[in-house]
């Protein structure tokens, strides 16, 4: 069994009446269980490339090999039943119910009724829609985000090993999009599908991709590498321009709070401690503020030295309320945003139950950026094997 689930060999598409091919000899391997993102400016051929994999667009020449089998000339309908397909406009069938939509491929495959019912309910559950509530509804009765969930459920119905997604979250409002992206990534951790994902948004590519193929005109690969490599070692000017000036900021989306050493020496106190004890504790530390926790170790208030000049009877009424919380799984970008919004310049790390874990400040983030940069430079200096066209270290 090859490690590559999808192999594209010299895949070319010429549309009639056009001098230049839309896709020119695209050759690429998609490793099993990974998300590969095609990203590039509009008209670069990324969608055409994707649609050649399930032959919605028939290639003019070249080969598509899925799981070791050349599928360039097999029956396209058979091929497509084994490949999940999600498009931006979703394309739910408006005249049938949600469960009928999800059941499309299992029905084409001739599953029996009980198995289909069980599977559609399971899938609705997986994508976060209560089957009892949504099973019998029609697409028009759902919001855009809910429809896209159904679109994903429908694509997963017959448990295909491969999923093709063409800007699946492109037409959804930013807040819902972020939520769907996160849910999808969590789902993928369990499902381990091989996914080809098309987007024009480099931020989405960095977030979703295990690997990113940055495509320029005619689907020529400008760089095919991990998000880290693309951000730290752009192969050429095209990639650099496409990634844009915010590369460092984007890198913050790659690291999570749990990956960095947050501060744990911040002085803390209890709601029932006396102000005098807390004042002394703060004075003995290097910190300018002290964090007060409640009886379940959840942060409630910040106290600074001036707050002790006129101590109230209860600690709960002194200082400022604690704000700007982040969880360990949040990205550094989220943490930075919390810090800026919170205006305290720090973010409080808490776990799922709200229990205090530590403090993040800007210095922590800057240190982690520095460490990331050093690590990649070190890697490439040691390897000295950078392929100038793809940015991939040679093998």
């Amino acid at each position: 069994m090859s490690d590559d689930m999808i192999q594209l060999e010299e895949l070319t598409k010429r549309f009639p009446g056009q001098a230049e091919p839309a896709v020119d000899r695209l050759t690429m391997r998609v490793p099993r269980g990974e998300i590969v993102v095609f990203v590039g400016p509009s008209g670069c051929g990324k969608t055409t490339s994707l649609k050649m994999i399930n032959r919605i667009i028939e290639p003019t020449s070249g080969h598509i090999i899925i799981d070791g089998e050349d599928v360039t000339d097999v029956d396209p309908d058979e091929l497509r039943r084994g490949i999940g397909y999600v498009i931006q406009q979703i394309g739910l069938f408006p005249h049938v119910t949600i469960s009928d939509n999800v059941a499309t491929v299992p029905r084409l495959l001739g599953w029996d009724k009980d198995r289909i019912t069980a599977r559609t309910d399971e899938l609705l559950e997986i994508v976060g829609l209560d089957p009892d509530l949504y099973r019998d509804r029609y697409p028009k009765e759902l919001s855009g985000g809910q429809r896209q969930r159904v679109g994903v459920a429908r694509a997963l119905a017959a448990d295909p090993p491969v999923l093709l997604m063409d800007e699946p979250f492109g037409a959804i409002d930013p807040i819902t999009r972020t939520r769907l992206q996160n849910e999808f990534l969590r789902l993928q951790e369990e499902l381990k599908k091989t996914i080809v994902f098309v987007t024009h948004d480099i931020d989405e590519a960095i977030k979703m991709g295990d690997r990113i193929a940055i495509l320029r005109e005619q689907s020529h690969i400008a760089q095919f590498a991990t998000p880290e490599e693309i951000l730290t070692q752009p192969a050429n000017e095209f990639v650099e321009d496409f990634v844009g000036s915010g590369a460092t900021l984007k890198r913050l989306k790659l690291s999570r709070v749990r990956d960095v050493d947050w501060l744990t020496d911040c002085p803390t106190g209890r709601l029932d401690d006396s102000p005098e004890v807390l004042r002394q504790r703060l004075a003995d530390s290097d910190w300018t503020a002290l964090l007060v926790l409640d009886d379940r170790d959840r942060p409630v208030r910040w106290l600074r030295a001036p707050d002790f000049h006129h101590p109230a009877r209860e600690v709960a009424r002194m200082g400022l309320p604690a704000v700007a919380f982040v969880r360990p799984q949040a990205t550094l970008s989220d943490a930075l945003e919390e810090m800026l919004v919170g205006s305290a310049g720090v973010a409080i790390v808490i776990d799922g139950q709200g229990v205090y874990q530590g403090i993040m400040d800007v210095d922590v983030i800057i240190a982690s950026i520095q460490a990331m940069r050093d690590a990649t430079n070190e890697f490439y200096r040691a390897a000295k094997l950078v392929d100038p066209t793809t940015g991939l270290a040679g093998s």
Binding site: R80, I87, G91, L92, F93, H95, V96, L108, G151
Partner: protein, 219 residues
């Protein structure tokens, strides 16, 4: 002679009018029924085979522009007199609304819906029957309704070529005896019955729509 107290009150005339109304309905039903089958086939062909579309639509348009009086008469040398020329002519007249609405109904199906069906491995025929036609159905049905109401009126002229239906009352008892007592009542009687039939059929299509348009795409 009064229309209500004399003409309509006569029990034998009532029976005769009812009999002609049924004949009229059967003629319209048989014509539209065949036109639906033919029109769907032609409409689907026009939708799938781009270069045939203008030929099909233009032919159906030309049928509708032939004056009905002439068309009925022109058919006599080909199929004789009676119900047959009436039926053939009415099929020809019903075609355009049905074909045109089939084509525009199929064209109006969201391309993303068709592509996602294709992307899931649904073959051409399954796609047509399970996805495209159900979604085009409200528009197709509207075309069938227009065709029906159109030929309910035109069917009256069938009486000129010896055809069945309420046209007989209008033509034989009305137009041919114009000036004689009762002729005006016959004209009026046939016409009123045809209008009533049209209203009845309109209600029928409302019910058919309720029953056959999938809930997910109902207005």
């Amino acid at each position: 002679m009064s229309f209500f107290t004399d003409y309509l009150a006569d029990p034998s005339r009532q029976a005769r009018l009812l009999e002609m109304a049924v004949e009229h309905l059967v003629l319209v039903g048989a014509s539209v029924g065949v036109a639906v089958l033919l029109g769907l086939a032609l409409g689907i062909t026009a939708h799938r085979v781009d270069w045939l579309a203008p030929a099909i639509l233009n032919t159906a348009s030309i049928f509708l522009t032939i004056p009905s009086l002439a068309l009925f008469a022109l058919l006599i040398p080909l199929v004789g007199i009676g119900a047959t020329p009436a039926w053939v002519a009415l099929v020809m007249y019903s075609l355009l609304p049905i074909v045109r609405n089939t084509v525009s109904g199929l064209n109006s199906v969201d391309q993303a819906v068709v592509e996602s069906a294709k992307g899931m491995g649904m073959g051409g025929t399954t796609r047509l029957l399970r996805i495209e036609l159900p979604n085009a159905w409200p528009v197709v049905l509207a075309g069938v309704r227009v065709a029906t109401l159109l030929v309910v009126g035109i069917a009256a002229i069938a009486a000129l070529v010896g055809g069945p239906g309420l046209g007989q009352e209008i033509y034989q008892n009305g137009i041919r005896r114009i000036g004689s007592p009762g002729a005006l009542n016959a004209l009026l009687g046939g016409t009123v019955m045809i209008v009533l039939l049209a209203l009845l059929l309109d209600l029928l299509y409302l019910a058919i729509g309720r029953l056959t348009i999938p809930r997910g795409i109902r207005e």
